[in-house]
């Protein structure tokens, strides 16, 4: 049905999409996880309330999240060029993806940690646990299931964003869909890319949820 070049191109597209998604999610968590922990900890109900820190983080994360991703992509081009050396291609797309994903991830981590039973935290305190130990041995452990399902949602969202980046010179399946389907009216290629995107999201979702359920000891 498709020529071998087209198939080769689709395979590369899948590879690029996976590369952008996974690397961005990983980097997003490297930044977003500590931020989320800080948000939860400095909250008024947290283990070390700090109003100023909380408000600052809250403000920054809300601002970034309220900028539409497509506009953020363009806004950060100078920064991207500085980091990667160019503003197009898969690697360049990772920069805005991480910037957009980190505050989103931070919020989800915050929500997961806030779900942890306050009584368990109190018990840890009564044993003489420091805040660092409470975070590492209690909060992150008890929130594990919720954190994993959060990561699943984050990965799906980042995958969607990565496809969007195709419209302004990003790589991956999104770029193929726009170049062939939108610019050249080759609807069949666009359809295939969309199906591939759906399959990818399905795979992430299933693996994530299965892992989360398997690791849950509450039932």
């Amino acid at each position: 049905m498709f020529s071998s070049e087209v198939i080769q191109m689709l395979i590369t597209g899948v590879g690029e999409t996976l590369y952008m998604t996974l690397v961005s999610t990983l980097l997003g968590y490297i930044i977003g996880l500590p931020l989320g922990v800080l948000l939860a900890v400095s909250d008024r109900e947290g283990i070390r309330p700090n109003g100023i820190l909380y408000k600052a983080l809250d403000f920054i994360s809300n601002i970034i999240r309220s900028i539409p991703f497509l506009i953020l992509l363009i806004l950060v081009i100078p920064f991207t060029r500085m980091l990667v050396g160019k503003s197009y291609g898969s690697t360049a797309t990772i920069v805005p993806l991480v910037i957009a994903a980190a505050p989103f991830i931070a919020r989800m981590v915050e929500a997961s940690i806030n779900e942890v039973d306050k009584g368990v935290i109190e018990a840890a305190k009564s044993m003489g646990a420091s805040n660092w130990i409470i975070i590492t041995k209690v909060l992150l452990v008890e929130a594990r299931t919720s954190l994993i399902s959060g990561a699943t949602i984050a990965t799906g969202t980042i995958l969607g964003y990565s496809a969007m980046a195709g419209s302004v010179g990003g790589g991956g399946l999104g770029a193929i869909a726009i170049r062939y389907g939108y610019n050249r009216y080759e609807t069949d290629i666009m359809l295939v890319t969309v199906i591939l995107l759906i399959v990818l999201v399905q795979v992430f979702q299933t693996v994530g949820m299965k892992t989360s359920t398997r690791l849950d000891r509450r039932k």
Binding site: D117, V120, A123, A124, S126, G128, V141, E142, R217, R218
Partner: protein, 344 residues
């Protein structure tokens, strides 16, 4: 030196527009090896009080001395170390739901920096004490309430504490499980010489295992002393209400003007029957022996912490000559006798 000593402890909570005084000027001494009960209705401040014992709540004023050491003077780090001497168990157990039994019990040791393998070894020993050896790999969700509390007790014992604080530890359990947990706590108190503080609203818990008790109402310790003494002859209104139940109905009759007039003459005596004295017809025998009429103003039987307790209010008429002999006679038969003045 007392295991725990509170000096003029006050705790105020600041809400947006007003202050709430949760604890008011509380002074208490709990001696080493005691099982000490703190009882009160919900909202009396007992949970806040027990959290001051390990500074989970910092008192607004006053001192908490643990074996003479003032908690308020410790640095954050010293305080954390001190807390490993004061273990705590809770109404809702507060176990880590994502960790199995052994890992839960190991947690206090891990917090202290003990090696994981050593902590696990100790955890398994503790499982023997709480009789749950077969559950080491189970997760809290697979355990019953009583088993969860046993795990929590094992966890509390892991750091070899000197004091064990129990915050409504049996309130979420059925009566039979409560009994078995109380038995376990008694054993721990005896065999490991751990001072135990029981926060509860359940009278039978105090009756069952405590030697001393403090009664709290609205942030104040209204009465304190030996359990027997306080349960048999509560002095304050709050204590009477808590131990004997609501007496307002009886009081109403006694407030009646005619009755009041009648009460003015003669000596009024409250007799408390305990278990052993309920078999002998003491009052009838007394009347026969002294050949004197008495007026029975009221009588009641109450279930106090699972034990039937009778109470009778009698009035000796003006003609009664041998009042002292009567009182001695009653006392000799193992009854608690108390002369009643105005406040009946």
């Amino acid at each position: 030196m007392s295991a725990i000593e509170l000096k003029k402890l006050t705790k105020t909570f600041q809400t947006k527009d007003h202050q709430v005084e949760a604890l008011k000027d509380i002074s208490l001494k709990i001696e080493e090896g005691e099982i000490y009960g703190i009882i009160g209705m919900s909202g009396a401040g007992k949970s806040t009080l027990v959290r001051c014992f390990n500074f989970l709540e910092r008192p607004t004023k006053g001192q908490v001395l643990i074996e003479g050491k003032d908690l308020g003077e410790l640095s954050e780090k010293e305080l954390r170390r001190q807390r490993s001497d004061i273990a705590m168990i809770f109404q809702h157990f507060n176990l880590l739901s994502q960790k199995n039994v052994v890992d839960n019990i190991s947690l206090p040791l891990i917090i202290q920096g003990v090696k994981k393998s050593e902590a696990k070894k100790r955890a398994k020993e503790l499982l023997k004490i709480v009789e749950l050896e077969d559950k080491e790999k189970a997760y809290p969700a697979q355990l019953s309430g009583g088993q969860k509390q046993r795990v929590a007790i094992a966890r509390a014992l892991a750091s070899d504490p000197k004091i064990l604080l129990c915050d409504e530890a049996t309130s979420a359990l059925d009566p039979r499980t409560t009994k078995s947990i109380l038995e376990l706590l008694k054993e721990i108190n005896k065999n490991l010489n751990i001072t135990i503080v029981m926060i509860t609203h359940q009278m039978e818990v105090v009756r069952e295992i405590c030697q001393k008790v403090a009664i709290m109402e609205e942030g104040i310790v209204v009465e304190e002393g030996g359990v027997e003494e306080i349960f048999d002859t509560p002095k304050t209104k709050a204590a009477k209400r808590l131990i004997l139940g609501d007496k307002s109905k009886d009081d109403d009759i006694l407030q009646d003007s005619k009755v009041k007039e009648l009460l003015k003459s003669g000596k009024k005596i409250r007799i408390v029957f305990t278990e052993n004295s309920a078999f002998e017809p003491v009052v009838s025998n007394m009347i026969l022996k002294f050949n004197t009429p008495i007026n029975i103003l009221g009588a009641d039987t109450k279930n106090v912490g699972g034990i039937a307790k009778g109470e009778m209010l009698i009035q000796l008429t003006d003609e009664t000559k041998n009042e002292e002999d009567i009182i001695t006679y009653l006392k000799e038969r193992g009854l608690k006798v108390e002369e009643v003045e105005e406040d009946v």
